[in-house]
Amino acid sequence: MANTATASLTVSEPTITEKTLLQRCLEGERKAQKELYQTYCNAMYTLAYRITSDADLANDVLQDAFIDVFRDLKSFKSIGTIGSWIKTIVIRKATKQVRFENRFERFEEKHDVGISYQTFSSRLLEREISALPEGYRTVFTLSEIEGYKHAEIASMLNISVSTSRTQLFHAKRTLRERLKNERDNY
């Protein structure tokens, strides 16, 4: 259960505490809701920010998503974790803002574009990822950072699996070039 200081969430079955917390949230207890919010807000905001690349938009997404979360909490069926459920809502809200570029550009994926991320500083990575075009960035975030499969991404974003692949390929190619340029400049 790798969990790091990044936007990702620990994936596990709901713990007893979490279940109690959810129960209290369902009963409309504001304190519990705040606790749930505080548990996830940074990760969710980071995700929203990566997708939208705009602090204001990301705040809006976060706000709308959590309002929906609390309103629709009763429909949460304990399938998967509350975290991934919230995450789905955040992604849905966030990707509404995103337009996909080069959508119809078909690309035969011959080989994976390899990038050895660890050779770059996280600050640089951060900057270059956020500078990717919207569609690339979204798919890159979901696939490379959040670890979703193309089929999942495709269904979340309502795009085809091959579009998801293509976007990722372009994203990585663009990113690799930019990182390389950046290094050459120094």
């Binding site: 505080q38 991320y117 660890q118």
Partner: protein, 832 residues
């Protein structure tokens, strides 16, 4: 599922961002509204001028000034008035009601019962009831007043069946608010009463009715004009006139604000109205709220922020959202039902929201009058900070009143440059004394002490070793923060010479050295580094400040300017936040020769008190930067001058001669005062004076021959108030003593200057004197000084207008503009 959360190798060090703190508030508000679907919460700042005006106007004008009345409108040819026994209110005969000020009557183009507006109500005397026509007749124009009842009764033949009345409130838009009342078995003895709540004075009302018992369903309608409430005449209200939403008992122990139910509120808040226009001119406010409206058919509203404008925009929708940023500590936010469509609003405050506020200002206690016989010495350290002025500007420009503790009068005065003469050769500064009549109190005098620091030749200046300490935490991620910091830094870099050094330390989750100390001939490299700064993470100010000091000390230029320049929004969340620890660190480094300058950026998270503490203890100064213009002023002129401190630990001690001074009051400098014995104590910190800087202090003085009772003064039993037996210094009114140290010195030097007791009239005083007085007056009014007895800013404005000088001066012009805005903003906020 389990691959979620697994990062690809190398991407697991990406940082986490933080949302804005108010997002939870917004969510909570939305949820609260789910729980209480009939309530709209809308926060606003109690006491905000525009709103109060309207609220008071409506409450006051309609509730108190115009006596409640029942306007009886007879239906039918009989025009007699039917008293309503169940209502004790005065009953006004329709004939006695004066004509509306601006009757909005239309001439009917066809017969009386064609349903045209203005028809039946046009003129009771000319309407002839036709027996075969619709039996319901409304017989008179009326003046309707909000809060009153209007009663309709029918003296005609009784009709059976239901009669439906509906009101159209406002501008004749039939799709708007309406009340429908069905009177089953309508009879002449059952008058129908309409309450005219929630109607704006300028609205035109329409009454429509249908009587289905007639062969063809007739519809008639007419218009009424409301009495003009004359909102404009009701512009002055006392600040103490609280509307009654403040319920201190409702504040949680955790300090997070509560919504208070309407029912918990005491005063009648049912009849406030706000139009969409009114709402749109309200100041921006923090946090989000909110939801549906209260009752009836009022359209719900949506209020969104105009981005970057701080104004609110209203759309017809079901939610109100107020995500703006300006909050004032200790102000209550309240909630209003507001309907925006067509200018009609049903404002009903349902409670207030007290923000979980993060701006903080230390409370200031105004200096009292002192008698020279009791306290002949007045001692203080000079203050060259100006941040308080910029806070005022931001507030006023945001249509918000200025929190009184945020007003430091001396910082207002010292915001402006004054043309004091250059110091004599060999002296670090000149001392300029002036004494003239006090403009806001003829029987008092104002004494001005003005210092001007020696200007230096920047080409021959000392070398600088600057360490920028930049807050790159998530809260800095908005246009008026980090991007402005970067611009500001580049401005300063351009001023630096090849022998100067610059380093950049950032702090967020962890402190880091973003730029090792670098000579300033590599400007492009430095600027590239600056461009790379970006915001994210939480703040560990303590760690950052330590690292910055270490870098500064490592690169210490002896006889140079060694300084940490801190750029932050003041949000020290983590680490060495405790003020005392921070203070120790700053003082230690000050003794090593590293000073600190603090630049506060942005609003919302802004912790004024903490930042001033830092600057005060570190021989530093402190700026508040809200715009690019301000940044130019600070970085291009102020910091450059500040970098070249010509004197440090500058303290002023004034001794007043009781013969000529009955009492004196130091205006401002409240947190710079020190005990008299500290004046000669070189270990006690004073203020720094930079090259070319001016510093001004004003005393309001009650002359020795005045028989005025000293405000707040206590009479002595054993001393005569003006016993001169021990002193004979003739005309000497006061002695100004000044202590300062050379920038690197440890022992102070003393300058003494005396002033004789001669007063010029205010109009012949120097222009600088007049201008400083005007600024002082304005600032004292903003901080609601008990010593100022002015109803509005008229006097201050005219002083400044006259004294701003013939040459265009951007700063002075700007103050006048701000004052005009403040005048409007505060007109409902006038002191008693």
């Amino acid at each position: 599922m389990n691959n979620k959360g697994q990062n690809k190798k190398g991407l697991n060090n990406l940082k986490t961002y933080e949302p804005k703190p108010e997002i939870w508030d917004n969510i909570e508000s939305a949820l609260n509204n789910d729980d209480k679907p009939n309530i709209v919460y809308w926060r606003w700042i109690t006491g905000i001028a525009a709103t109060l005006a309207i609220i008071f106007a409506v409450n006051g004008v309609f509730k108190d000034e115009i006596k409640p009345a029942i306007v009886e409108v007879n239906m039918g040819s009989d025009k007699s008035v039917t008293p309503n026994d169940t209502n004790q209110d005065e009953i006004v005969n329709i004939e006695n009601i004066p004509a509306p000020k601006t009757p909005k009557l239309e001439t009917p183009t066809t017969g009386p019962w064609d349903g045209k507006a203005g028809d039946a109500l046009r003129d009771p005397n000319t309407i002839v009831h036709q027996p075969n026509d619709n039996p319901v007749l409304v017989s008179a124009d009326s003046i309707l007043t909000s809060g009153n009842d209007v009663t309709f009764s029918n003296t005609n033949t009784v009709n059976t069946g239901a009669v439906t009345y509906s009101w159209d409130f406002g501008s004749g838009q039939t799709d708007q608010t309406s009340q429908t009342q069905v009177n089953q078995a309508f009879s002449p003895t059952t008058p129908i009463t309409f309450n005219v709540d929630n109607i704006q004075s300028t609205d035109q009302l329409t009454l429509s009715y249908t009587a289905p018992d007639v062969s063809a369903a007739y519809t008639g309608s007419g218009t009424f004009s409301l009495a003009t409430g004359d909102l404009d005449n009701k512009t002055t209200y006392k600040a103490s006139d609280n509307i009654g939403f403040v319920d201190n008992s409702a504040v949680d122990a955790d300090g997070v604000g509560n919504y208070v139910d309407a029912d918990a509120l005491t005063k009648d808040v049912n009849q406030t109205t706000l139009s969409s226009k009114d709402i749109s001119t309200l100041p921006a406010r923090r946090g989000g709220a909110i939801a549906t409206h209260q009752t009836g058919t009022l359209a719900a509203t949506k209020i969104t922020r105009h981005r970057n404008k701080g104004k609110l925009k209203i759309n017809a929708n079901s939610e109100i959202q107020i995500p703006a940023k300006r909050v004032v500590e200790n102000e209550k936010y309240q909630c209003i039902v507001a309907d925006s469509v067509g200018g009609l609003s049903a404002g009903r405050q349902l409670g207030y929201y007290e923000p979980n506020n993060t701006e903080s200002y230390l409370p200031l206690i105004e200096n009292e009058y002192k008698r020279p016989t009791q306290e002949p010495l007045s001692t203080f350290g000079i203050d060259v900070d100006k941040a308080s002025y910029a806070v005022m500007r931001t507030k006023i420009n945001g249509n918000t009143i200025v929190p009184k503790d945020a007003v430091r009068v001396e910082e207002f005065i010292n915001y402006f440059d004054y043309n004091y003469p250059e110091p004599d050769a060999g002296m670090p500064f000149s001392i300029n004394l002036e004494n003239a009549t006090c403009p806001w109190n003829d029987s008092h005098n104002l004494v001005r002490i003005g210092l001007k620091g020696k200007d230096i030749n920047y080409a021959e200046k000392q070398n600088s070793n600057l360490v920028f300490l930049i807050d790159v935490s998530g809260s800095m991620d908005s246009e008026n923060k980090l991007p402005l910091v970067k611009k500001s830094m580049k401005l300063l870099i351009d001023q630096m010479g090849a022998n100067d050094r610059i380093a950049i330390v950032t702090y967020a989750g962890a402190a880091g050295l973003a730029l090792e100390s670098t000579a300033c001939n590599e400007k492009e490299y430095i600027k590239r580094k600056i461009n790379k700064l970006d915001a994210g993470g939480s703040t560990a100010g303590g760690e950052g400040i330590k690292l910055a000091y270490n870098v500064a000390v490592e690169n210490l230029i002896s006889n140079g300017n060694n300084r940490v320049i801190m750029c932050t929004d003041g949000d020290f969340n983590v680490g060495q936040s405790a003020d005392s620890e921070m203070k120790k660190l700053i003082v230690n480094n000050r003794n090593k020769g590293v000073f600190i300058t603090v630049c506060g950026f942005g609003m919302g998270n802004y912790q004024d008190s903490k930042m001033e503490t830092i600057a005060d203890n570190g021989n530093g100064n402190y700026f508040y930067i809200d715009t690019y213009r301000e940044s130019e002023k600070v970085f291009n002129r102020e910091i450059r001058a500040t970098l070249f401190t010509i004197a440090k630990d500058v303290k002023i001690q004034v001794e007043f001669n009781p013969k000529h001074v009955k009492a004196y009051r130091l205006i401002g400098y409240e947190n710079r005062k020190m005990p008299p014995q500290d004046f000669n104590d070189d270990t006690k910190d004073g203020g720094e004076l930079g090259a070319g800087h001016t510093v001004t202090a004003l005393y309001e003085v009650i002359p020795g021959n005045s028989d005025e009772a000293i405000p707040g003064g206590i009479d002595l039993k054993y001393q005569k108030p003006n016993d001169m037996s021990l002193t004979d210094f003739g005309d000497e009114m006061l002695t100004v003593k000044l202590r300062y140290k050379q920038p690197k010195g440890t022992t102070s030097q003393l300058l003494v200057k005396t002033m004789t007791n001669s007063v010029t009239s205010f109009s012949t005083a120097s222009q600088d004197f007049q201008f400083a007085s005007g600024v002082a007056l304005y600032a004292q009014q903003l901080r609601q000084s008990k010593f100022i007895n002015q109803k509005d800013f008229t006097l201050a404005e005219s002083i400044l207008q006259d004294a701003k000088g013939a040459d265009f001066n951007e700063d002075r012009e700007e103050l006048l503009t701000l004052m005009k805005k403040a005048k409007r903003l505060y007109q409902v906020y006038t002191k008693e």
